[in-house]
């Protein structure tokens, strides 16, 4: 496929929507910095550009190649995580960053995409074969739990949960029976106390404080209290661009990353949030339609799972900012400041588009 047919084939309008959401993020970062391009907005623009390039690159790679190499990429990512775990410096109690001298990245964010890709390949490859439990559930569960455990060890509970539930979505889409989910759900509930003991103290306290948000508003619940004030004070139409008091006077912590949504809510109000949701919804519906148009099972299952993961991130982020789920540290897709997550989503959408661009390719014979 030459470059011209790619330019012709590629869904530019869809990419435009992605850039639109990212630009909104840039605008918010510009506002948070008090109307300055530094320190965040400019960096974010560079990342978006890199992301779009990578998206085009990923989209121009034949889906066959993605299919063939997904296991290798998976192990490469696991390798990166291990390096990160053992060799990188601790930043505020967690080892998430891999320093590659000219830039640093969070392998866990990249892994998010490729775990789905790997599971998609796995289910694609077994779909012609037996339905026995070992192949159907245990192996893919192993594929899923290895990275989840490693990411959880970093510790990065938010990303680990996102990866885990994205994987579960793949299971669901691949046709694992409902009763299995039911059983696993019950088992999971029963084993809650055991899992609890694996949590770090700060994670436990976050969950405890989540259950009692009125207490300790200056300490453990400070984040969420201030975030709710931001959102609530924004009202229906917001205080206006660059007018957010909560964010400009730095009452909301982490507002350029995990809490960027509260800045949106404060400056543009419920109306702005609704607009963002509509764009998100269009992206997701469109993406699912694109997936379903593909002729191969691999592309479909990857695409829909990826979109579900995308949705899950949005839900967890917004849920945490609005105080309906505990603070677990998940960025708002395409908006929050952060290169790894941004680039990984663009790559994910790139693979999704690749599945569409090469939708007629059959993967059975590989």
């Amino acid at each position: 496929m030459n470059i011209f047919s790619l330019v012709y084939k590629i869904n530019w309008l869809f990419i435009f929507l992605l850039i639109l959401v990212s630009s909104l993020g840039v605008g918010l970062l510009y506002s948070i910095a008090g109307g300055e391009w530094n320190p965040w907005a400019l960096n974010q623009i560079i990342r978006i550009l890199i992301g779009v390039l990578l998206l085009l690159f990923a989209a121009s790679i034949n889906i066959k190649i993605w299919y063939k190499n997904s296991y290798y990429i998976y192990f490469f990512c696991i390798f990166l995580i291990l390096i990160t775990l053992f060799f990188s410096r601790e930043i505020s109690g967690a080892t998430r960053w891999l320093d590659l001298y000219f830039f640093s990245m969070q392998p866990a964010e990249i892994l998010k995409i490729f775990v789905i890709l790997t599971l998609a390949k796995y289910f694609h490859s077994i779909k012609l074969q037996s339905f026995d439990i070992k192949h159907r559930i245990l192996f893919p569960l192993l594929i899923l739990l290895l990275p989840v455990t490693l990411v959880f060890k970093q510790p990065d509970l938010g990303t680990a949960l996102i990866i885990f539930f994205s994987g579960i979505v793949v299971f669901f889409l691949a046709g694992v029976k409902a009763k299995v989910f039911l059983g696993a759900g019950i088992l999971g509930t029963i084993s809650m106390p055991v899992l609890w003991s694996f949590l770090k103290d700060y994670q436990k306290s976050r969950i405890i404080n989540f259950l009692d948000q009125q207490s300790d508003v200056l300490g453990a619940n400070y984040h969420i209290t201030q975030s709710k004030i931001s959102l609530g004070s924004g009202g229906l139409f917001g205080k206006g661009f660059l007018q957010g008091t909560q964010s400009h006077l730095s009452f909301v912590p982490e507002m350029q990353t995990d809490f960027i949504f509260s800045v949106l809510g404060e400056e543009f109000g419920f109306f702005g949030i609704f607009m963002l949701f509509i764009i998100y919804a269009i992206i997701m519906f469109w993406a699912i339609r694109i997936c379903l148009n593909s002729r191969n099972y691999f592309s479909k299952i990857f695409g829909i799972s990826f979109i579900s993961s995308f949705f899950l991130s949005i839900f967890v982020n917004v849920g945490m900012v609005t105080g309906i789920i505990p603070v677990v540290g998940v960025p708002l897709p395409l908006c929050s400041y952060g290169g790894s997550a941004m680039i990984s989503y663009f790559i994910g959408f790139g693979i999704l588009l690749s599945g569409y661009n090469f939708r007629d390719n059959k993967l059975e014979n590989i």
Binding site: V169, L231, S233, T245, Q246, T322
Partner: protein, 611 residues
């Protein structure tokens, strides 16, 4: 195409199910957002404003206090203090080092500043030095670019240029107590001092003014971002007092190294033109913050420098009270102007003997070698004959004396507009029964007749009595705040002179007696007489100890040989000029000795100064 085409159908169905699930979650999130942003929005808007807007009060400028001639007694002086904006000790030390190039910082102080750094209020500038001198200020500001962490703040500080001279009358400022803050919460926010004494306390409301406000936008760290709105503070009212600071200076110098009080009052309108209590204190100290040791010495000083003796000191009036007793007798027709009483220098009753002040074992009453003579009222006042008043008091009876004393304002507050006024005490039979639980003795009436025993009064009351005698009973109220024209407010004294008219015809007798006391050679204050102005007065000497019979047998120990606290109090009341009186005064020197030798000369100097 696929071996299991239903797999696609399954995928589609599950995708749809997943979509439904997502829809439910999204609805939940949207519901939450509607709740936060629409339903509860107003509440959160309020919280957001509460977060960002910080109300700071602008302290009002306190009103000035001046004397009757407009000389300023309490002013606000600009002060400068140097502060430092640093986050840790290392920066602080660096700043101090740099600062020490420009102003003198002593080592011990510097050490203390560094040590106290932990206690500092976060996000607030840290105070290094107060009360900078002008050259220090200019040296810092000229080099401010070299010491960016150092800032200079200007403020106002109360100054009392005349220091001790009128400390009791003017008062001083001090930080509000917790109780006051509870009563007036705004005090806790303002960081100002409140009046603690004298006029500063009494006129606190009027002097203080109304604070302004600054609505400031602050960030999460409490730093000021900008000013949203400002309402200027309202200056406190200036106050003009009736006292004359030049006279005050003179009065204070007359009481130097003595303990006592002088009150000078205008007999025509009750204005207090001089009021001094000694020893005094420097009210400027209280502003500058002085050590606990200084405070302890002030508080524990037996001469009570912190008490305004002019209004809070309750003294036996001594012989000065004889004027009242005589007025009472004349009014109640016990004695006539020209009738006389036969006096001996020693009066025996069944339980004890009463001696005249002039009693000497061998000679008896100095004026009459035969130990007895007839004394008329005028002479009794002039010569202060004790026996005359023993007899007279016995005849009048305590209740009638008390009635007259009360009519002239003794035993109740005069209503002067300074706080801390005491009432003094006028004993009666029922009072004694109630408070001491014993019945009244006639001896006590006699003692009261010479102004000793239970009866006490304040120097101000005595000055007021004198003024009433001098102005022939014209109703006046002592006042010190010239701006306060609202005389009807004076409730306490409304009934004070209802019966003054009853005494009107007898005032001249008293005045003549007082004239003789000063200007006739038999008078007790003859040595202090002045040719100009001619003044009249009455001395008083109050015993603070009991003179035993044995002592009288041998020789009475003179005051100067007694320990200080056993010496007599010296009193003098008087008015001048004798014709057309203008000023009435009362002088009390605690343990000063006799009224004629100690208090009267002071009174003479005062009259010389005033008239």
């Amino acid at each position: 195409m696929y071996k299991y085409p239903n797999l696609d159908k399954l995928l589609l169905r599950r995708t749809f199910l997943l979509g439904v699930g997502k829809g439910i979650l999204l609805t939940g999130v949207l519901g939450r957002l509607i709740y936060l942003q629409i339903v509860k929005s107003n509440q959160y808007k309020l919280l957001a404003n509460k977060n960002r807007i910080s109300l700071r009060l602008l302290n009002p400028i306190r009103g000035k206090i001046s004397d009757r001639n407009g000389k300023l007694l309490a002013i606000n002086q600009n002060t400068f203090r140097v502060l430092c904006v640093v986050d840790n000790k290392i920066e602080l030390k660096k700043a101090l080092f740099n600062l020490s190039k420009f102003i003198f910082l002593n080592n011990i102080e510097t050490q203390k500043i560094v040590n106290d750094f932990e206690k500092k209020n976060k996000n607030m500038p840290y105070l290094i030095k107060e009360n900078l001198k002008w050259n220090e200020v200019s040296s810092i500001s000229a080099n401010s670019f070299l010491i960016p962490t150092i800032i200079i703040e200007s403020g106002l500080q109360r100054k009392y240029p005349f220091k001790q001279t009128s400390a009791h009358t003017i008062g001083y400022l001090g930080p509000p107590t917790n109780n006051e803050i509870k009563k007036e919460p705004i005090l806790g926010l303002m960081n100002i001092n409140v009046g603690r004494f004298g006029m500063e306390e009494h006129l606190e409301k009027r002097l203080r003014g109304i604070p302004g406000t600054r609505h400031l936008e602050v960030n999460a760290h409490g730093r000021i971002v900008r000013e949203i709105r400002k309402e200027n503070s309202k200056k406190g009212n200036n106050v003009k007092l009736s006292i004359d600071i030049e006279l005050q200076k003179k009065l204070y110098s007359l009481l130097k190294d003595k303990s006592g009080s002088i009150v000078a009052i205008n007999v025509n309108n009750g204005e207090v033109i001089g009021m001094v209590s000694s020893p005094s204190f420097d009210p400027n100290f209280f502003n500058q913050g002085f050590s606990t040791e200084d405070w302890k010495t002030l508080i524990n000083d037996p001469l009570a420098p912190l008490v305004n003796k002019s209004i809070s000191g309750e003294y036996s009036p001594g012989s000065t009270f004889k004027t009242i007793v005589l007025l009472s007798a004349l009014k109640n027709n016990i004695i006539k102007k020209n009738s006389s009483i036969l006096c001996t220098s020693k009066l025996e009753t069944k339980d004890r003997s009463f001696y005249c002040w002039c009693h000497k074992k061998k000679t008896g009453c100095y004026a009459a070698r035969n130990h007895q003579r007839n004394v008329r009222p005028k002479l009794a006042i002039a010569q202060s004959c004790d026996c005359f008043f023993y007899e007279l008091a016995k005849k009048i009876g305590i209740n009638k004396i008390a009635e007259t004393a009360k009519t002239f304002g003794i035993g109740k507050k005069t209503g002067i507009d300074i706080r801390g006024e005491k009432t003094g005490l006028v004993p009666t039979k029922s009072w004694k029964r109630k408070n001491i639980g014993k019945s009244w003795h006639v001896g006590e009436t006699m003692i009261t007749g010479v102004g000793q025993g239970y009866i006490t009064s304040t120097p101000l009351q005595l000055a007021l009595v004198t003024a009433l005698i001098a102005n022939n009973g014209k109703k006046i109220f002592p006042k010190i705040n010239l701006d306060d024209f609202n005389l009807e407010k004076n409730v306490i004294n409304d009934d004070m002179d209802e019966h003054h008219s009853d005494y009107e015809e007898y005032f001249p007798i008293i005045r003549e007696g007082m004239y003789d006391a000063v200007n006739k050679h038999i008078g007790t204050a003859y040595k202090s007489r002045l040719s100009k102005p001619i003044f009249a007065g009455k001395t008083g000497t109050v015993q603070v100890r009991v003179i035993t019979e044995e002592e009288r047998e041998t020789e009475i120990i003179p005051n100067r040989e007694l320990p200080f606290e056993q010496r007599d109090h010296a009193l003098f009341i008087g008015f001048a000029p004798y014709k057309n009186p203008k000023v009435a005064i009362s002088v009390i020197i605690e343990h000063g000795g006799s009224g004629s030798s100690q208090a009267a000369p002071i009174a003479a100097k005062i009259f010389k100064k005033i008239i």
